[in-house]
């Protein structure tokens, strides 16, 4: 039956032990945020690129909207927030990150009426959604997706237009000029400078909000840790090219939150050093992430947070190691060399622009095909992320490019970032099986000799 979800017969996935450590760090972070106001901290709500080092240097507590919505979904606690959003009038086809988070805003407001403690939702105290402390102000840092920017404009309105809001504009990297390309060309340079200048304005805004001069040294320090953590993350990702793979895409998904919004600190560096070391240890001892790895696939789409554990088991059940994806290799401080820790603003601006929804298809194609070759992949799986138009827009074109240029097959399945109702298990199952069979057939036929194109 389409949509029915059965447990895999045998769990063939072998997740990294370190992901549990990361999980604890993340849980501690949120607990800390829920009590931040009691500790006299100002709270900023923000969306999009990882501005946390700025907030850390400014002495703020920060809540990343998508991250909170993702966390609720991963813990299956998104229901109350989404219901509150629906009652408020948000359509179910609206980006589920935004409607979950806006639902939280509604719950937060209901809970704070008449009191400024910021701990919310008297009637819903048990529900994580309602624990989110109300913001003192908003900062929007969304690249690529127009929805992200509008969502904060609406949060500002939901909170009665009382709280300050700062918006950073990111030019879409369309890549049409003759010199345009990944990390190069006049478009890239100009956009980098434009965003960097806005980040400098943001510092003025933060100084105004906090009443304190901005601590540039603290920013440098935080970015030094983040840069090192990002380098270790890259090293770990590179190790996963080994056969069989020592860790998979799903392990890296579990490490998104630490790299994306935990404070820059030695603990963060240690975490990613340990992740890398665990992967190296697996290679040294011949331990694989998927028992009897038979296929290696690419995963495109924003994460389906409701189904992280389920999907990791499901692919492993079929002997599939999912190894690369736009959301992992091409996001989250993925180009650490761009960061000059003594003056990190420009490198930060560039990373925000490098959001994987902010490139034209030409660049996305370059990145996806590069990763398919580097990880020696057999095919691609596209998570047609129902309410995220930003990620899904170029997917059909990417699938075609992979087929035409590398001869790689792909499948699409539907799901969503934070709304479980869009996931259809039967569709994924049948299409995955069909693709794996096609890969088998191709393997049996043998590879083409060098120099021959896969397509006539």
């Amino acid at each position: 039956m389409l949509g029915s979800i059965e447990k895999p017969v045998e769990d063939k996935s072998n997740r990294l032990g370190m992901t549990r450590v990361g999980g604890q760090m993340i849980a501690d972070y949120w607990e800390d945020l829920f009590t931040a106001r009691e500790r006299g901290k100002q709270i900023v709500w923000y969306n999009g690129g990882a501005l946390n080092p700025m907030f850390q240097a400014a002495g703020l507590a920060w809540c990343h909207g998508e991250a909170f919505a993702a966390r609720l979904a991963a813990q299956r606690l998104e229901g109350p927030a989404q219901l509150a959003g629906a009652e408020y009038g948000y359509n179910a086809e609206l980006c589920s990150y935004s409607r979950t988070h806006l639902g939280c805003s509604v719950l937060t407001l209901q809970g704070t009426e008449g009191d400024q403690t910021g701990v919310v939702g008297v009637h819903d105290q048990e529900v994580l959604a309602a624990k989110l402390p109300a913001p003192d102000f908003f900062v929007n840092n969304y690249a690529g997706c127009s929805t992200g920017q509008q969502w904060d404009g609406i949060s500002y309105r939901v909170f009665g237009k009382q709280l300050p809001i700062f918006n950073i504009s990111h030019p879409f990297l369309w890549g049409n000029k003759p010199d345009s390309g990944y990390l190069r060309g006049a478009e890239w340079e100009q956009a980098s400078q434009f965003v960097a200048s806005q980040l400098r304005e943001l510092i003025g805004f933060l100084e105004h909000q906090t009443g304190r001069p901005f601590d540039y040294d603290a920013l440098s320090e935080s970015m030094t840790y983040i840069k090192r953590a990002a380098e270790l993350r890259r090293e770990g990702l590179d190790l996963c090219k080994a056969k069989p793979a020592p860790a998979t895409f799903w392990d890296w998904i579990a490490s998104v939150a630490p790299i994306n919004f935990l404070p820059g600190s030695q603990a963060l560096v240690d975490y990613f050093a340990d992740v890398r070391d665990e992967i190296q240890g697996r290679i040294d001892h011949g331990v694989s992430a998927v028992k009897d790895e038979k296929y290696r696939l690419y995963f495109d789409g924003i994460m389906n947070w409701n189904k992280l554990g389920y999907l990791s088991r499901k692919f492993a059940e079929h002997g599939v190691a999912v190894l690369a994806g736009r959301y992992i290799q091409n996001a989250f401080w993925q180009e650490p060399h761009l960061i000059d820790t003594s003056d990190p603003i420009l490198g930060m601006a560039q990373h925000y622009l490098l959001c994987p929804t902010n490139h034209g298809v030409k660049t996305l194609e370059h990145l996806a095909l590069r990763d398919c070759e580097d990880y020696d992949l057999d095919g691609l799986v596209f998570h047609s992320t129902r309410t995220c138009r930003a990620f899904t827009g170029p997917q059909r074109l990417l699938a075609k490019a992979a087929q035409d240029k590398l001869g790689l097959p792909s499948i699409f399945f539907e799901g969503d970032v934070a709304d479980a109702s869009f996931y259809k298990d039967g569709i994924l199952e049948s299409r995955l099986v069909a693709m794996l069979e096609a890969i088998d057939v191709r393997r049996e036929r043998g590879a083409l000799p060098d120099g021959f194109s896969a397509f006539a």
Partner: protein, 388 residues
């Protein structure tokens, strides 16, 4: 329209319903002239016109979506899926280039389809800064306008002189003013033209050369007599940011006991809301036009803390005396879905009856819409003072 449609009106209707035929005629009269596909909502067509090109705002052409399905996900708005379909099936081949200056992610998705499927065609995307309150916004928008100018000059090979640009600005202003008068007359109580006819007039202005359109419209309006408004329920139509609501839907609305007195549709007041200043530096004037458009009728795709669509809507309703509002929300239009609760809240607080209709590119449930509109009409009628 109570009068028999004039030949001029019929020609306007013809252009609106078959832009490709008009483009063919224009080409014949302008050998070597470029026809540009312009994507909504804020592209400064004046710049292209001044370079001797014909900038045509691409319409949702009402054909069923076939090949476009394999290019954009089904949960993209109908307009963008239709654009993808037009490209995939060769219906876009009437254009020499594509120019867009916006940032809706769905529109960018459709623009990508055009660029990928037609690799030899110029497909330009100039993002007009959509965060309007920033101190650097005016300079950034002016810079983008200058970039658009340079790109158009490069593509057409024609420099855009200051004088030509001034003339184009005047021509578009003149045409906008004339259509605006028709809409104002409608709000003031004379309903000489039906919503479908007004839409045809506006669509034809999006397609045609403005000088030609203005002349034809003047001719169409000569001899047209206004009629007093009847006592149907006066409604304001709100929404449809990029494409025209289906004509059948407009007809159903007016057949169900409502009369449209005002709107903020793209194919309505939104498109015509603002003129470009005719004095001073024309590039700065176009930048100013872009900023003022969002103040005259705020758009949910822009971020501007001190401009609110809900406030605008309440003012408009008070001004036109509309008794109810119908929200026409194209399915999957994210900016509209995000903003809709704010509109609903404001109207509820002001005790104004409202109805939300979610429209689709094809397969609209017109009969169920009719029932719901009739219910709105009933509800609104009951609120009228009873005269005994």
């Amino acid at each position: 329209m109570t009068d028999t449609p004039s030949e001029a009106m019929e020609r306007l209707v013809g252009v609106a319903r078959d832009p490709r035929a008009y483009i063919g005629r224009w080409r014949a009269g302008h050998p070597g002239g470029a026809v540009l596909a312009i994507l909504p909502m804020n592209f400064p067509r004046e710049l292209a016109h001044a370079a001797g090109a014909l900038p045509v705002i691409v319409q949702d052409d009402q054909e069923p979506i076939t090949e476009g399905r394999a290019l954009l996900a089904e949960f993209y708005c109908g307009y963008t899926r239709n654009l993808a379909d037009q490209v995939a099936t060769g219906r876009f081949d009437v254009y020499d280039a594509v120019f867009s200056a916006d940032h809706c992610i769905q529109l960018i998705g459709a623009t990508e389809i055009a660029r990928t499927l037609r690799p030899d065609t110029t497909v330009f995307l100039g993002m007009l800064n959509s965060s309007m309150n920033d101190s650097w916004a005016p300079a950034k928008v002016t810079e983008t306008m200058a970039e658009i100018q340079a790109e158009i000059e490069r593509f057409t090979g024609n420099p855009v002189g200051r004088e030509e640009l001034g003339r184009s600005i005047e021509a578009y202003n003149r045409d906008r003013r004339l259509i605006r008068q028709l809409l104002d007359t409608r709000s003031a109580g004379e309903a000489a033209l039906s919503p479908v006819q007004l839409q045809d007039i506006i669509v034809s202005s999006m397609v045609m050369d403005p000088v030609e359109h203005h002349a034809l419209l003047l001719e169409a309006l000569a001899g047209l007599h206004g009629t007093e408004r009847d006592d149907r329920v006066r409604v304001h139509l709100s929404g449809h940011l990029c494409h025209a609501p289906r004509r059948e839907l407009l007809e159903v609305i007016e057949d169900s006991g409502a009369i449209v007195v005002d709107d903020d549709l793209y194919h309505g007041k939104r498109y015509l809301s603002t003129d470009v200043a005719e004095e001073g530096d024309p590039i700065a004037a176009l930048a100013g036009w872009y900023a003022r458009r969002n103040v005259t009728i705020p758009c949910p795709t822009r971020v501007q803390q001190d401009a609110d669509w809900d406030t605008y809507l309440l003012d408009a309703v008070r001004h036109s005396g509309a008794e109810a509002v119908i929200h026409l929300v194209p399915k999957f239009c994210e900016p509209h879905m995000l903003y809709y609760p704010e509109l609903r809240k404001a109207l509820d607080a002001a005790d104004i009856p409202q109805l939300q209709l979610e429209t689709e590119h094809e397969g609209m449930p017109l009969e169920s819409f009719r029932t719901r509109i009739e219910a709105l009409v009933e509800r609104t009628l009951r609120r009228r003072p009873v005269h005994v």
